[in-house]
Symmetry: C2
Subunit: 308 residues, 2 copies
Amino acid sequence: MNIQQLEYIVALDQHRHFVQAAEHCFVTQPTLSMMIKKLEEELNVKIFDRTKQPIVPTAIGRQLIDQARVLLREARRLEEMAKQYNGDLSGELHIGVIPTIASYLLPAFVQSFIQEHPAIRLRVSEMITERIIRELKMGNLDVGIVASAADEATLREIPLYRERFFAFVSEATALFDKQYILPTEIDPNELWLLEEGHCFRTQIQSLCELSKNSPSGNSFQYRSGSIETLIRMVERSGGVTIIPELAMLDLSEDRKKFIRSFQAPVPAREVGLVVNREQVKMHLIDLLRSTIQRVVPHLPSDEALQVL
Amino acid sequence: MNIQQLEYIVALDQHRHFVQAAEHCFVTQPTLSMMIKKLEEELNVKIFDRTKQPIVPTAIGRQLIDQARVLLREARRLEEMAKQYNGDLSGELHIGVIPTIASYLLPAFVQSFIQEHPAIRLRVSEMITERIIRELKMGNLDVGIVASAADEATLREIPLYRERFFAFVSEATALFDKQYILPTEIDPNELWLLEEGHCFRTQIQSLCELSKNSPSGNSFQYRSGSIETLIRMVERSGGVTIIPELAMLDLSEDRKKFIRSFQAPVPAREVGLVVNREQVKMHLIDLLRSTIQRVVPHLPSDEALQVL
DNA sequence: CCTTTGTATAGACATAGCCTATAACCACAG
DNA sequence: CTGTGGTTATAGGCTATGTCTATACAAAGG
């Protein structure tokens, strides 16, 4: 058994196809066939059922492939430790970002980052906090960018910046005429929210449920997957929505007319990196942190914030 | 990097000596030297400081060796999974046993076990519960034999048998003339105990502290490391000690005259196996369990027991 | 300064892993 | 029943890698 063979069975499990898996491993199909056969003989176990098309792992094969993944992850960790010791700023950095941050933060720093560190291959996936936490724990993700992650013992949080919340109000609402507004002044029936699962939704709920006047279950309520959509809903159908500061800064001048600030203490969220405590790519992650902090406009003024 | 090389650095870390480590790996010293050098070149890291004698790992070397151990453990796990699937009853079973069980249980089953399963290499280490738990978690031990282990989330307990406690009393004590005794009747000043760390000591303390008449810190108190020694102390210096059932059964007829039973509910302890939840050698451990349960005399009568 | 003890290097050999070419298998169309 | 396309397995040759023996080199001790 060797590490290579384990990579082969994991690749074959991914592709369920010898030719494709072989390409993925940069070897020919016969090589892959032979090596897998050899491993199967050594372990005296049929890992793949080749009678089916596409190929499927056997029951025991599933277990072995999963274990192979564990082993390969540990192998990469070892290599990463050596690399980092050498101050080697190369490698892959797999980042998970929540949607309400991704759209506005990524354009701001990705370009700078890949220019400054051309040897780092950046892989960004958009996913909700819950999944980021899960993937971090499984070791499929190097770092997450979230807004106030749950305190997990195995994870570590690194604060990046705070961003305030702003209301985007339609001309039709009473709020439009105010200069500063209070969360309690928002009519829950007029409030557009993201769909379930987004932590930004949860935060706004807790902000507005403080006012306890949300009867819920009334009239029509559309739940959107993106902040941009919420803004459009307000523009066309009236009402109000709440957006984070980076989203606000991104608006056109025309749209900014519909922005209203909250009265102090201004509701805000804390954006930070989350990493597994055992993470060995801390060097790379530190580069990420400093790039983000340099690129993001210095948002939080000295005013009182209410961090949700 | 390959698995072999990792075994080499782990072996060299153990032996701190190329020739010995090479022997341990069944290769020649030049082979070991070359392979380690090769790994060091590949990772671009000096793993061992050869200027010292004996050789020592460098700082980064330490980390890499630890990670190599993790990797090797996962590799063995993988092989073990395949073996078990094949119903292969071979392999190594590393058992940790607490001292107060080891002396009396091991002679009873080890012989049977190795005869019934000659392909299993048994490795037994005597250690206190605390260390057994630690080694199980680190994966250095396959299974532990303990008396009521703490409930650790990552471990699983498998009950084996219950054994009662008995008092071994000197002729000089008042207890000698009684047929059945109560824990409260034992004078703590006359009671011989094992040294700190033994769970059997703790259990007896909790049994006798119920009677709350242990002023402690009085006169001379010798703490022994073995039950056999406690018995000798009673024989020579008087007083009383408490021993588990298997130890009692092992006594000569002469000595059994000094044994007194407790009144019901008879204090007892529950002996069981402890394994890591992720343990893949469950098949082997099941064989161990059935051999032990067959060999150990059926101890607990139907009488009421007070399991400590 | 030579011996002892320990590690590194050199050169030879076997083999493990890879490649190309091709066989074998299987489903399906004609 | 047979040919064809898609897929995996086998064969034979080449190279790189891991291993060995023999020996050089280095450091410490008498």
